[in-house]
């Protein structure tokens, strides 16, 4: 973590909260949660509200689908923290082996044609955004995905193109696989709204 105020908390309440959660969970509170608590009114609140709606709100996509999208956006941005965090949540909703296959190459993973086409759109959105055209979206429609479902996926893509950038810029500490797994249980239970 490159900003010490985020690491330790920016108020007495937040310092106590970070210490308490770390103590109860038996692991260092991940940097993503520390950022969510920091200067909350400025960023954590509006970002958390959109993330909670996109990742846990009503959608044609399952929570596992959306977490897999997040993990892949993280992969395309070389964000090891977010690949680990969201891959771990996806693995609780989908099979771990399926998540690993999709992370290695979603094109050969045993997932629906609609999800594959959507991931192809999200990959272009992440890596070549100016090349997106109506044909890119039409290809997703042809795979059986509706406009509202594609919009939901685009929201996930936009949010994680933000998250990975501050995670990388701030150099989030990488938890162990076991810690990612425990943090994933908390994310499934509590969601993203800070």
């Amino acid at each position: 973590m490159r900003l010490q105020e985020i690491d330790r908390g920016d108020s007495i309440f937040n310092r106590l909260l970070i210490a308490f959660i770390s103590l109860v969970s038996g692991m260092r509170l991940p940097d993503a949660a520390r950022v969510a608590f920091y200067h909350k009114d400025f960023f954590g609140s509006p970002m958390g509200a959109w993330t909670q709606a996109a990742m846990r709100g009503p959608s044609a996509w399952s929570v596992g689908d959306r977490e897999l999208m997040a993990a892949l956006v993280a992969k395309w941005n070389s964000c090891d923290f977010c690949v680990g965090a969201h891959g771990a949540v996806a693995a609780k909703e989908i099979e771990r082996s399926l998540v690993d296959t999709a992370l290695a190459d979603y094109r050969v993973a045993p997932i629906s044609d609609g999800l594959k086409a959507t991931l192809e759109f999200l990959e272009a959105m992440t890596l070549r955004p100016t090349e997106l055209t109506s044909k890119s979206a039409a290809a997703v429609f042809e795979a059986g995905v509706g406009a509202e479902a594609l919009k939901d996926a685009i929201a996930v893509g936009a949010i994680f193109n933000i998250v990975v950038r501050y995670a990388n810029a701030l150099d989030f500490a990488l938890p162990t696989a076991n810690e990612f797994d425990r943090a994933a249980s908390m994310l499934l239970k509590r969601g993203y709204a800070s």
Binding site: L3, W50, T126, A155, N161, R165
Partner: protein
């Protein structure tokens, strides 16, 4: 009772408005310039330019020195955080707008058939 669908456009706008136009420690112009720069916009003054463009193009290559440079120039970690958040948001919302444009155009074309 069925929960209503999320209004992603409103949620994205609420985030943009808060980060770029709301109260903060850093000045609005720097936050706005960082968001634009990370979305491929014009260069900023040193040392902001290096960090904002790196966050936009290749965030995993951001260095300690780039972040520390902005902490020094902006005057506090809090102000630096605002600029980092603005840059990250600028790159993400640029993708949001382009992807929605593609979606809207495809939906219009589909409705016209």
């Amino acid at each position: 009772m069925t929960a209503s669908r999320p209004d992603h456009r409103a949620l994205a706008e609420a985030l943009r408005y808060r980060v770029l136009e709301g109260r903060g420690v850093s000045d609005h112009a720097t936050r706005k310039a960082a968001a634009d720069r990370a979305a491929g916009g014009p260069a900023m003054a040193v040392p902001y330019d290096d960090l904002a463009s790196q966050i936009g193009e290749c965030s995993h290559r951001v260095t300690d020195a780039q972040v520390q440079g902005v902490v020094q120039a902006a005057g506090s970690e809090n102000a630096a955080f605002e600029i980092i958040a603005a840059a990250a948001m600028g790159a993400g919302l640029m993708r949001w707008r382009l992807a929605l444009k593609a979606l809207d155009e495809a939906s219009d074309a589909s409705a016209g058939n």
